[in-house]
């Protein structure tokens, strides 16, 4: 379990806090997505969950951050890294530069942990398979595409067997293929149900389909915390400068003119939207009416 209790944090030499009274408790194995406008505090939250706040960034921190029973302020960052993995936006900057092949790159964390060689080899092989990059094992980390590098970064964290993996907008700088590869990797991880995953993202379509829980940040506060469906169909989402998924927007507009069944939930995925729009005969008659009224030259 990873939890923030009334956490308020201000970066050094900054006037406004980046997180305000944030309380969030994430049980083991949950997939929690975090969304919010830029500057709302998503990255800060990710750093707080992985111990980089307070250890790396200093600044003023009040409240408690707990990873299982460990208070992150009471232990060193080095002890926290085994429990929480962090992946962030820029794939290139996550390649350590210390290693010449992907296999060694994934070994880097294990070497720092002092894992014996035989165990290292097993864990690396397993992780490369798990992330689907076994075919890249002998390539240089710097000769890979962004999507491949990002998966190497994920593998490097997973090799350390953390309980929690925090990902801060991992697909922002990737092309659609790379983004898809990364989402597939995360999805496989979630299906194993072992690791708690916390993902900050802008791409709502994928989150809607796979997240267990969706948290909305605005101005450093948590303003919504519920299921993806409830959050993404809530009318007040716009207030926080987050655009609702286009399926929601389309269905909402359609409902007003009778093209979406009034008693049906708004769709958050393509499948739900397809089903809804092709479902009932009442839609057909509405369509027929609209078509007729248009044709009669109004």
């Amino acid at each position: 379990m990873i939890a923030l209790d009334a956490v308020t944090y201000t970066y050094p030499a900054t006037a406004q806090p980046a997180l305000r009274e944030v309380s969030l408790s994430i049980p083991d194995g949950q997939f929690c997505a975090v969304i919010g406008a830029n500057g709302a505090g998503k990255s800060t939250l990710c750093y707080a969950l992985s111990g980089f706040i307070p250890h790396f960034f200093r600044g003023e921190l009040s409240g408690r951050i707990r990873i299982d029973d460990v208070d992150t302020q009471a232990v060193s960052l080095a002890e926290l890294v085994q429990r929480v993995g962090l992946v962030f936006q820029n794939p290139f900057n996550q390649m350590s530069g210390a290693k010449f092949t992907v296999r060694e790159e994934v070994a880097f964390g294990l070497e720092n942990l002092g894992v014996p060689r035989a165990e290292m080899q097993t864990r690396i092989a397993r992780t490369l398979e798990r992330v689907g990059i076994a075919d890249l094992a002998d390539r240089s980390p710097f000769a890979l595409s962004g999507g491949q590098q990002q998966r190497v970064a994920i593998a490097s964290m997973l090799a350390m067997d953390p309980r929690v993996l925090v990902l801060d907008e991992p697909t922002s700088q990737l092309d659609p293929i790379g983004a898809r590869e990364v989402f597939e990797t995360i999805r496989a991880l979630i299906e194993e149900r072992g690791t708690t995953v916390i993902l900050a993202e802008h791409k709502l379509e994928w989150i809607a389909a796979f997240a267990d829980r969706l948290v909305v940040l605005a101005n450093g506060r948590i303003v919504m915390d519920s299921s993806p469906r409830q959050v993404l169909t809530a009318p007040e989402l716009e207030r926080y400068h987050i655009g609702a998924p286009r399926y929601v927007q389309a269905a909402r507009a359609a409902r007003e003119i009778g093209l979406w069944p009034a008693d049906r939930d708004l769709p958050v995925t393509l499948d739900e939207a397809t089903e809804g729009f092709s479902s009932s005969s009442s839609l057909n008659s509405t369509r027929l009416d609209l078509r007729n009224s248009r044709n009669s030259g109004n």
């Binding site: 080095a78 890294v81 962090l86 530069g97 210390a98 010449f100 710097f142």
Partner: protein, 257 residues
């Protein structure tokens, strides 16, 4: 930027990096402690050249060493030859003349430079930098220093790519980069500025990335890679210490002139 060559006969490649480091140091000490130009070339001909032939890298080694030392040697010969104070002229070209002592000095200096670079080339052409750093760290080199060296080797080439992007981006904003000296000087800040500032951001992110993989953990690090070593090599290394020690003592005792 790696000068390490793969795919050669592999004999030298397979040796333990420390063995090769010691060889390099022994060659350098011998070449510098033994007096006279002839000693330098003797060391080269009896140790470095045979080893490079045995290792299958003689060609690349000689080419690399020539590229490094030739420019220096030429300017050495010219400057020392012409301007050595109080020397005896032996060759005249109009108003200026080359001095014998100057040429001798240049010859000694150039020969030592040749030996120095060939000894290092012997090491660097046959030793993967990652392996070399690992071996040194296992013998006490600070891990942070080793990291800086290796990361620099890998990341600096990407700098060049970034510098090219920056050049494109600024030219597209109307920056003139050709023409008068003044124009070129004015172009420096817009070209170097983004490179430096952007690198600061990158450095911070990379620091977080390696921190997140336990780089600062204070426990002994293990390594995935096993560095090849053998009893024969261990014995050789012990033996290799002897020669330079003997030579240095001899030099200090005045037995070598």
């Amino acid at each position: 930027m790696l000068i390490y060559l793969t795919g050669r006969s592999g004999r030298l490649h397979g040796l333990n990096p420390i063995t090769k480091v010691m060889l390099t140091l022994v060659v350098i000490v011998c070449g510098f402690v033994l007096p006279g130009v002839w000693a330098t070339w003797l060391v080269f001909g009896s140790i470095v050249l045979p080893l490079s032939l045995w290792g299958g890298i003689a060609g690349p080694l000689l080419r690399a060493v020539a590229r490094i030392t030739l420019p220096f040697a030429i300017s050495l010969f010219v400057i020392q030859g012409l301007f050595f104070p109080g020397g005896t002229p032996i060759l005249s070209l109009g108003p200026v003349s080359f001095k014998a002592e100057g040429l001798q000095f240049a010859l000694l200096f150039a020969s030592r430079l040749f030996l120095l670079s060939s000894a290092f080339m012997l090491l660097l052409l046959t030793t993967h930098p990652g392996l070399l750093m690992l071996a040194l760290v296992q013998r006490g080199l600070p891990a942070n220093l080793a990291y800086i060296i290796v990361a620099t080797l890998q990341i600096v080439p990407r700098f060049q790519a970034r510098a090219a992007s920056i050049l494109d981006a600024q030219r597209a904003r109307g920056l003139e980069t050709t023409g008068s000296l003044l124009r070129r000087l004015r172009a420096i800040v817009p070209l170097v500025g983004p490179l430096v500032l952007g690198s600061l951001v990158d450095v911070e992110e990379r620091a977080i990335a390696i921190e997140a993989r336990g780089f600062s953990l204070r426990r002994p690090k293990t390594s995935l890679i096993d560095i090849p070593d053998s009893r024969a090599e261990k014995g050789l290394r012990r033996g290799l210490i002897v020669a330079p020690v003997v030579l240095i003592v001899a030099r200090l005792a005045g037995w070598l002139r």
